[in-house]
Symmetry: D3
Amino acid sequence: MSTTPSVLVISAHAADFVWRAGGAIALSAQRGAPVHVVCLSFGERGESQGLWKQEGMTLEGVKQARREESSAAAEVLGASIEFLDLGDYPLRVDDAAQERIVGIMRERLPDVILTHVANDPYNRDHNLAHETTLLTRMVAQAHGHDPGAKPLGAAQVLQFEPHQPEVCGFVPELLLDITPVFDLKTRAMRCMAGGQGHLVDYYTELGVRRGVQARRNGAPSSVIHAEAYKRTFPTVGEELR
Amino acid sequence: MSTTPSVLVISAHAADFVWRAGGAIALSAQRGAPVHVVCLSFGERGESQGLWKQEGMTLEGVKQARREESSAAAEVLGASIEFLDLGDYPLRVDDAAQERIVGIMRERLPDVILTHVANDPYNRDHNLAHETTLLTRMVAQAHGHDPGAKPLGAAQVLQFEPHQPEVCGFVPELLLDITPVFDLKTRAMRCMAGGQGHLVDYYTELGVRRGVQARRNGAPSSVIHAEAYKRTFPTVGEELR
Amino acid sequence: MSTTPSVLVISAHAADFVWRAGGAIALSAQRGAPVHVVCLSFGERGESQGLWKQEGMTLEGVKQARREESSAAAEVLGASIEFLDLGDYPLRVDDAAQERIVGIMRERLPDVILTHVANDPYNRDHNLAHETTLLTRMVAQAHGHDPGAKPLGAAQVLQFEPHQPEVCGFVPELLLDITPVFDLKTRAMRCMAGGQGHLVDYYTELGVRRGVQARRNGAPSSVIHAEAYKRTFPTVGEELR
Amino acid sequence: MSTTPSVLVISAHAADFVWRAGGAIALSAQRGAPVHVVCLSFGERGESQGLWKQEGMTLEGVKQARREESSAAAEVLGASIEFLDLGDYPLRVDDAAQERIVGIMRERLPDVILTHVANDPYNRDHNLAHETTLLTRMVAQAHGHDPGAKPLGAAQVLQFEPHQPEVCGFVPELLLDITPVFDLKTRAMRCMAGGQGHLVDYYTELGVRRGVQARRNGAPSSVIHAEAYKRTFPTVGEELR
Amino acid sequence: MSTTPSVLVISAHAADFVWRAGGAIALSAQRGAPVHVVCLSFGERGESQGLWKQEGMTLEGVKQARREESSAAAEVLGASIEFLDLGDYPLRVDDAAQERIVGIMRERLPDVILTHVANDPYNRDHNLAHETTLLTRMVAQAHGHDPGAKPLGAAQVLQFEPHQPEVCGFVPELLLDITPVFDLKTRAMRCMAGGQGHLVDYYTELGVRRGVQARRNGAPSSVIHAEAYKRTFPTVGEELR
Amino acid sequence: MSTTPSVLVISAHAADFVWRAGGAIALSAQRGAPVHVVCLSFGERGESQGLWKQEGMTLEGVKQARREESSAAAEVLGASIEFLDLGDYPLRVDDAAQERIVGIMRERLPDVILTHVANDPYNRDHNLAHETTLLTRMVAQAHGHDPGAKPLGAAQVLQFEPHQPEVCGFVPELLLDITPVFDLKTRAMRCMAGGQGHLVDYYTELGVRRGVQARRNGAPSSVIHAEAYKRTFPTVGEELR
């Protein structure tokens, strides 16, 4: 892993990747690694309160607004993005959608995949995104799947932080220093202002808080903002860390 | 953490550090980091069957043999070593012993501490070594303890692998590549031949097995031997790993 | 929450709500709160041994008998009831059924939802009822779902006691005093005599046992019968309890 | 349980039963108990790397080769076998497949069922095999399912060992002495040489390792090879063991 | 383990062994196995409410009464008994007491040890009995402890059922059929009438309840009474159970 | 529990009760319930960095300053307070100290006890405070302890929030609305300014954050500040909450 790992983000709704992983995305992109975001849905029904309050808003209008916001945010962060439009609240992932995600994994061969936790009692769309990630990762690794193509390697799956971490069994295992790119994350978050603008302050404050925790766990004092991740698989490495 | 982290090993018995962490020790030492081993006991009663079978063996004789074996092993690995002689089966750690370990931590200020798991139902000496490590680490960090001296930083505590990992709740979180130093570990293990020589094959095979697991989790094919560790605290870092 | 909370019960089979939550239902109803029971299936195949032993019994006959028993029991307890007839052993919940349950939640806006545990190795219908509850609750909360209607609030989901609590990971977090309504629960349980009459004694005894446990955990000596519940979400309140 | 318990094995892929449970199968068969293996898929896409490397190989060719290998292995072990051909990576279990498995359980009425763990983050096919087993077991037990037939009893479900046990939450609860049949297991493993021949050494070594663990947990010194299992339900018995 | 395993019971208070393990004790004794009970304390302060209500009762009087009751109960069950008188509420186990228990283990070399769970939030004496059992077992196994004597083997430690099993993390892993000796357990429980007579009904009912659970998990219909145990170590055996 | 429950706080260090439970204390006191705080130590060595920086500071000086700060804070909150001066980093609780705490419990007979979590890997003083609380609670409940006095009832033990909740296994089970007394908590926190003044902002922000979480879990919009607690025992009650 001598170069910066390439990243694939599986985001249940169109904004999750910004709030929960915007720092990791910007950091990787800034270092030259390809980062691609797959939004399973637009979060059009469950996470677009601000948009629905606009007079005359329609489902398609919400979707379009979210697409624009998320695309703008991805651009700020330096990532490419695509939308599978699978519906939200509830998200539905059928066999064809699974196949499509496998195809994306095969094409991009990410080193690291970012997605949601396994069990969020508040939001089953998040669970399904997690399950879908592990299932499609397995298929993308199979030698017998589309035998001519190169199989996915042993990509780590990092789970990003849910809204109520303790209730979701989320334990931070990696506190990622996102200080150098926090301005980018802030700009990306502001792109989401139409739907969930009130969350910018919340996630700014969370970034500071996880930064404090990073320092308490040994990070240098230059670390101001951090994002927390839970690992799915063991790390491998040459150093005691 | 730009340089190789310095290491302190808290070993319940005189041989634990060789079998369970010999690779990590040699790797760190080879890179120029100071590594110090504290053996809380000699394992004179519980882990010296081979020595007790020698005719006319005494408790002091066992201790002396173990001291020599372990010192030789530490030298091979490139670590300094000291013995607290606190007794084994059961290990006893009184206030004075705690103070002494705090003093060692304060003097050496390790970046990483290696020790046993929290709950081994087969071996409560291991539990006590774990508890002692967390307690003395806390004291060594306190600004008000020996106020003139420099407090210990936020040293990570890595738990090494117990004999029956699943029963002890041990989940590998770091698979450390020890391929470059496996010959050193082998030589160090052979130093222990008087007491527990039958374990060399076991730990050689374990090293290979954890190496296989490392590759299955993404390590390059050059990784042949590995050691497994469980983290106590989150990692902090600048990379998605 | 100044008034008695309104209650919705999601029962995998037609009798679960009586045995496991009859006291809670009667208590709430007696205090004037609306209580509605949704039976996902009649338990016609898996929980109607007594009925199947009757000569010439048919599937429709079992369903009808169970509908009558359960309706009578609900009436005794003071609750309204409806049956979705989704099949049992295994229960199947398709998209339309999910939509219907969302509709019920939207119409009734319960403060509390009672349902099964997340993981019962003996009975996967129970698991599906749990999962369905969390998923439909999420949808019913979404502002963008049927935007004109009022969304569901943050209803607590209380899990009622499974047959083999320890094996299902069920830990009692609320021991509800049902002493004042235990006669009603008894009468309701007796309504189920055609299918599972042998359970009346069992659940009477369980009520006493949980009552003893309640007193051991601080309930006044007037508490004779109790029901146990596990919470899904934190409680919020103004008192230290 | 005065006679040797009859066994049903639910294997996600065509080879799992050999590597993970070959000893238990041979042991039971040798004692005269009926043992039947159900392969949900051939593992044609995910576990047949060796076959895919053969020039001109097709999907049907892989399936046929796997069928032959697994049938030969089952014959060596003394078990009957059938293949449901449900696909792999991902495995798909629809309603009809569930019905068929229920029919097999009803026909054979096993005392013990062997299958995969509940949560393997590397392989969701294994999870689905586990879930399918618990669901079909429940249906096969229901008196109202096919009322004329004899329902399945309270069959224990033993989970066999996954590749990375600690990461899958696998704790050995039964270390089964397979020493008397290890030569049979070896012969059966060699039948799989076309697809996964490299695993013979791995599982031979694992058998020895679990044998060592068995002796450390009280087995007599004659125990050389063992297989590890995790129980799903409590055991019942007349002895303190 | 061709003969009935010999049993050692480590009971925090003088009555625990009767309520929680009386059936296992009588069953083993009836089959000719030696069973020995070690009462760490008399439960003189915390579990003798009935005795303290007697006018003029003193601490020594309570202890003496408990000693007589427990001795009578042990005799009924067929076990030998001794009392270490270490105090209760809180129990204190010093080095000398540990040594004495090691001596008992060395002398009796039990195959199975029965004791309390690891974490009972209501009763820390139970925790200490558990910890003491694991620690002294380890010492008794050490070859270097009293080298002339025969070391203890790999005795299983079965944890008996606490008062509030779910809150203590107690999961039944063995449901032991005690039907053939339940009359003996009843007679033994009645011996305790001076101190805790009100518990006879409770434990009779619990025995029936665990018997029902045993049948639901596959025991024959002849099983009426059972006791539940949680294992500390894997079982080893020649059968799939 | 018709009146406001009386409260006892067992605080490892002199300031823990202010940061972690100041709101609960003020709320209870304001409603007329007696609240008493026991500080096991002054936190003189581990939590008084600010004081140690003052020129010429001595251990006694630090203790005195902390006593004054904590006493002032307790007065603001409406609680009485006492200091056991048992030392910190590490805290030591001997038999006499346990006896003293039992005496305090017997004298005050609290309905609710507030203390630390069971397992904080960063701070073993917190663990010992937890363990001490459960042990002394048990003794204070024993009828045979000081037989003339009234035993403690089944006091709930609420664990307050540690610094790094997820790493400590802390799951919020009660989100207590402390909005009406948050100004008092702020004033009390400011009393601690000599030793740990930098924490005022941190805990203000935490109060807001837990308030947001309370609203997301159903609290009315008037709730601005909250404190989180984890329960040790089931609640008992007459309402579904």
